[in-house]
Assembly symmetry: C2
């Protein structure tokens, strides 16, 4: 059995070993830059760990795992352009360091590169892995589209929000696990249960992220809290506040949404409204529900309990994190 | 034997028949919009015609042919953002009609869609077709990168320019033909000769395009000539003028490159310099050389002469066009 640390070691080594063409360096340098920024590398680890549930030798899963990590970073490169983000993992985003055109084109090359890695899977798995990859990739685009559309709306419902984060965030975790399960030789029931584990965990993870952005400990969280409030991001907290506030509170909330010149006061005021409306409690309850669904799905995977501990512990740490 | 018209009929029918998910419509409408704009549809026709050289039944080539057309349109959607183009085939570009973010994201979904269509090829062809597709797609990104880098340079050599248009334009034509040849069952020599036919034709085609933008008959060409001159595009004509002008002519040319407030005079002046330096003659000679290389490659393809007429005629029409 491999530990999370073992798999991360493999992934770091393989990412460092990627050979890019020497020219045009303007196309390839941004790809290497983003891929080697410090990051959790959770997605490729999931692929390797899921494979490892069924077989000791995870060699065949390495390139598909990298395909997912490259794909994930492609989405970050393009999303950062669309969101006009200046920092990624504490470093300048590609479009800030180079240019928007560079981020668009290097992102395209990165999406193609992710397919190149996925195509290097064993012939017997090629078709199912590519079908899963393309389906999931399309869903992630749909999730980003909904996320952008939500920016223009004040009436996003909770189910709509959950569906958006399922598409934008959770399906990739599910698909990474399913990829490993396919390569490992799992039966269809196990594949689906591992996929569901990833989906539920991904949803819980994203709502936790929304919560930490407002209530996280800034010393541990590593960035100032309140960023989502300042840019009026339609998080789980904001859509629930908009949907549950009475007329007076909603007017107050809308007033703060329209305000962009008093950042400190805005964060405090919106956080107070969230507190008053018991939004953190609601968020924690939803996180708990999805976390338990995730654990139940993992429970149903028909391999030795001991082998599943590594995935269970990752889930637990994600849920207990304060950053 | 199918005619060009036959294949175009198939392609139009299949493009109309593509079923997009209903939601999010903001993601899929721009894809359908761009794909159904009037266009030559030459690339998928090449795939079907190349396949038809070897077998009557071209069914297996249809989805890979569509993959190329979808991929081609993805490059147009993103290139138009990068070039800040306002019109495409006489209609507003996607980023003008919707937004830049829409063009980025729908373009991404379109690139994924092209892989979905390519993955629908027969199992026996899946790996070679995907390898060809990804390699070519990467080369096209490299071509676009060189094209953007050339905008910042005044010292682009002719070989550098030819290499750029080989990557940006020609490899796709070659790969479309090779795709059809693979599916048709051609041997490796034929595959390579058809690929070379596409490469040489593509290079000749692009230089012809550069020439027509300055010297085309505007009544036939369908758009005003001189657009490339106005935006200082590094065309075959401009890089050759920069490289062959004496000090006086080069100073004159650089003066006009720096001028952006006298469009009519700029076009006339730069065209006069091209004439003086015999650039059109040089361009026509280079076009002729590549056109003949294309015909020689086609000649070497080991199928009945009659069958090859359709490709030969397309090449001839492309070279004789005044638009």
């Amino acid at each position: 059995m491999l530990s999370l640390q073992d798999t991360l070691g493999v992934i770091h080594r393989e990412i460092q070993a990627i050979q890019y063409p020497k020219t045009p360096s303007g196309l390839y340098e941004p790809i290497a830059y983003l891929l080697t920024l410090k990051g959790k590398k959770l997605r490729p680890a999931f692929t390797l760990l899921a494979c490892n549930l069924y077989r000791e030798d995870i060699e065949a899963a390495i390139r598909p795992a990298l395909a997912w990590e490259i794909f994930h970073n492609f989405t970050l490169m393009h999303d950062d352009v669309m969101d006009k983000a200046e920092l990624r993992r504490g470093q300048p985003t590609v479009h800030k360091k180079w240019s928007e055109n560079t981020a668009i084109l290097s992102g395209d090359a990165m999406l193609i590169l992710s397919y190149i890695f996925m195509t290097k899977s064993l012939a017997e798995h090629l078709k199912p892995l590519l079908d899963l990859f393309s389906l999931t990739a399309t869903e992630i685009c749909e999730g980003q589209q909904y996320d952008m559309e939500f920016e223009q709306r004040l009436d996003v419902s909770e189910p709509e929000y959950i569906e958006m984060i399922r598409l934008k965030t959770a399906v990739m975790l599910g698909a990474c696990l399913r990829t490993g399960a396919i390569i490992g030789g799992a039966n269809e029931t196990d594949r689906q249960n591992l996929y569901d584990f990833g989906i539920y965990l991904g949803i819980a993870f994203q709502i936790k992220d929304d919560l930490l952005d407002v209530y996280g400990n800034p010393d541990v969280f590593g960035k100032k809290t309140g960023g989502d409030i300042l840019c009026n991001k339609k998080t789980y907290l904001l859509i629930n506040a908009l949907n549950s506030a009475n007329i007076t509170d909603k007017a107050e909330l809308l007033k703060w949404l329209a305000c962009d010149d008093k950042p400190e006061e805005k964060i405090i005021a919106v956080r107070s409204l969230y507190d008053k409306l018991a939004i953190p409690e609601k968020a924690n309850e939803t996180i708990r529900i999805f976390y338990e669904k995730a654990l139940m799905a993992l429970q149903a995977v028909s391999v030795d309990e001991n082998k599943k501990k590594v995935l269970e512990n990752i889930a637990k740490e994600l849920m207990e994190r304060e950053f």
